[in-house]
Symmetry: C2
Subunit: 354 residues, 2 copies
Amino acid sequence: MKKNIETELVGVKEIARRAEVAIATVDRVLNNRKGVSAKTKEKILGIIKELDYKPNIMARRLASNKTLKFAVLIPKVSEETDYWKAPLEGVKNAASEIKDYGIIVDIYFFDQNNKLTFSTEAVKILEKDYQGVILAPMFEEESISFIQKCYIKNIPYVFINSDIDEQNSLCYIGPNLYQSGYLAGHLISYLISEKQKILLVNISKEIDPHHHLLRKEEGFRAYFNVNHKENDLIKIDIKETDYLSVKQKIAEVLTQTSIDIIFVTNSRVSSVARYLEETGQSHIKLIGYDFLEENINYLKKNVIDFLICQKPQEQGYKGIMALYNFLVNSSAVDKQNYMPIDIITKENYKFYKN
Amino acid sequence: MKKNIETELVGVKEIARRAEVAIATVDRVLNNRKGVSAKTKEKILGIIKELDYKPNIMARRLASNKTLKFAVLIPKVSEETDYWKAPLEGVKNAASEIKDYGIIVDIYFFDQNNKLTFSTEAVKILEKDYQGVILAPMFEEESISFIQKCYIKNIPYVFINSDIDEQNSLCYIGPNLYQSGYLAGHLISYLISEKQKILLVNISKEIDPHHHLLRKEEGFRAYFNVNHKENDLIKIDIKETDYLSVKQKIAEVLTQTSIDIIFVTNSRVSSVARYLEETGQSHIKLIGYDFLEENINYLKKNVIDFLICQKPQEQGYKGIMALYNFLVNSSAVDKQNYMPIDIITKENYKFYKN
DNA sequence: CTGAAAGCGCTTACAG
DNA sequence: CTGAAAGCGCTTACAG
C-alpha cells in the first residue's frame, strides 16, 4: 500500500478535486456519457485539457471488465493450396496478443470451392452475439447479403485479402489486386521479347464476374495496354482445381500454341509448375503467387521464376487489430491498408517473412 | 460494483481459497518470492497447474505500479545519410505503444563519424539508472567497454543494426550482414558477364578492422569464390564522406580502369549515383543499400539498379520490444533476429514498407 | 513463514 | 444531474 508520492501525477481523482465534483462525474465526461450539466462538463473538459490528461488504459480495461467477441470468416485450408494457413496464423497471433484485454476471437471456415458454405457460416455468426467481424469477401453476392445484416445490427466488419467497394466496411486490409497484376505485367515484360506469347491462367472453382482474381487480370492487361506492348495474350479459366484438370487444360493450350510465359493469378501456380516439370517444359517461364512450400520448391528448381507475395499473415493480424483499435481504443482506422508487393526469387526467399 | 458472476473464473482469490492460505501467499508463489514453506508452495503450485491459471497482466501492471526506463544509443541522422531516421522512428513507435505500461524510453545520439561521441553518450547512460539498453554497436572497442559496464550492473542490452559476437547481449536485431553481401554478389552476377569488372566501395569515416561494413564485403567476396566467378574486383575505402571526396575517389578509379558495375556497401550509394549521373556514366550499373528518398530518386531514374533494404524501422521497434518482453513479460527472446533481405527496384518501391 | 488490508486508476450500479 | 462506495485482479508494506 505504497502511496502515490508524485502527487502531481494526474488521474481522475485529481481532476475531480480540481473541478470540485465526484470522480463519477469526471468519468461521465471522459467517456462522453450523458447526465452532466453543460457547465460542469465544460469545467471538467477545461481541466482535462489544461492537465493534458491521458486515461490509464490498463486501469480502464481492468475496471470495465468487459469482454468483446470477434468472429472471423475465412476459407479453410484447401487441398489445392494452403494459402489460408497464413492469414489464419496471423489471426491467431493477434488473438493471443489481445486475449488479456478481454477479446475473444472465434474463427469460422468456409470452403472456397463452395459458395453455400460461406452463407451457412455467415448465418452461424449472425446467430451469436459478436461485436466485430473480419471476413474474406470472396463471393460478392453472399458477402453483401451477410454484411448488410451486420450493418443493421451495427456490427463493424473488416475485409481482408480482397475488397468490395462501397460497402461501409470499417476497412480493407490486403493487396491492391489491380496493382499486383500490373506489377506482374511489368515483371513479365522483362522476361520476354516483343513477339512472345503469354498465357494467363485463373484457377478457381468459383469465378463469377466479380471474382477478385479478375482484378489482377485487369491490372495485368492494363500494363500491356498502357505500355503499348503487342504481345499475344491468351487467357483461360480453369474451374476444376484438381491437378489432372489443370494438367489437361494447360496441355490443350500448349499443344495448340507456342507459349513463352505463363502467369497464374493465384497460389495454384504449383499445379502448372508440376505439369511443366513433368513434361520437361520448364524453359517456359512461370510467374505466380504466394510463399507456399510447394511453390518455393519449384522456385528453387527454377521452374517458377518469380512469386509475388503480399504478406498473408499480416492481413489476418491487422484485421483483428483494426477491429480492436477501433472498438477498444476508439482510434481512427485507415480505410485502405494495402500490403507491399514483394517479389520472391530463388535468391531471397530464405529471409522472407510471410 | 458488478460482481463477478462467473465464479469459475480463476484468480488469486480463488487459488487462495482452495489452498486455504492468504492471497499474499499465493502472490509470493506466483512471483517466485521467498518466504513460503515448501509444503505450502507445492500445494499452491499444484492448484495453479490444475486450474491452468494465467495471471491478469493488466492487473499486475496496474498494481505493481512501477516504471522501467530504457536507454537507446544510436547514431544521429547525419548530413550524408538519413538512414538512422528509420530506426529512430521504430523506437518511437514502440515507445509510445508501451508508454501506458510504465515504460520510459530515453534516446541518446552519437556521431557515427566520431567514436568519441559514442563513449561520451555511453557514460551519460551509465550515470543514470536504466533497466535496459538498446544500442547500435558500431564501434567495437567502445561498445564492448560500454556493455561490460552494463553487464556488471546487470542491465540487459540489445544490439541493433550490427552485431558483436559473444558479448552476452540479450539479442541481436538486424541484418545478417554477411548474407546481405552474399545476396548482392548474386544479384550482380545476373547483371554482368564473365569478364566484367566490379568496383566495391565502402564509404565511412570510421573503418576499423571490425567495422560492420566489412562483413558485407566478406559475404560479397564469398559469393564469387564459392561460385567460381572470375570477375575482377577492385575495392576502395572512402573515409571522407562528403560528396567532393567521394567524387574524387571514384573518378580516380574510373579513369584508370574500365568498371562495369559498382557496389556500395551502405546507404551512401547516392553520392556515387550523383557522380555517375553528373558525368553521364549511368550505364555503369549500381547497387547499394537502403530506402532513402535520395536513393529512390536515383532508382526511378535508372541510375541505381537495385537497393537492398533491411527494415531499419522494424529494427528499432523490435529492439525496444525485445527488452520489454524480456523484462516485463519475462518471455523468452530470440538470440538472433535477422531482418529479411528486400530487393527494391523501380517497380516495387511504391509499396515498400521501410 | 503467513495474513489482513490498502492501494493501483479507473468503471459501475445504486441512491438521491 | 451528482456523489459515495464497491469492485476489477493483482501487489505492497506492515504486523505478527
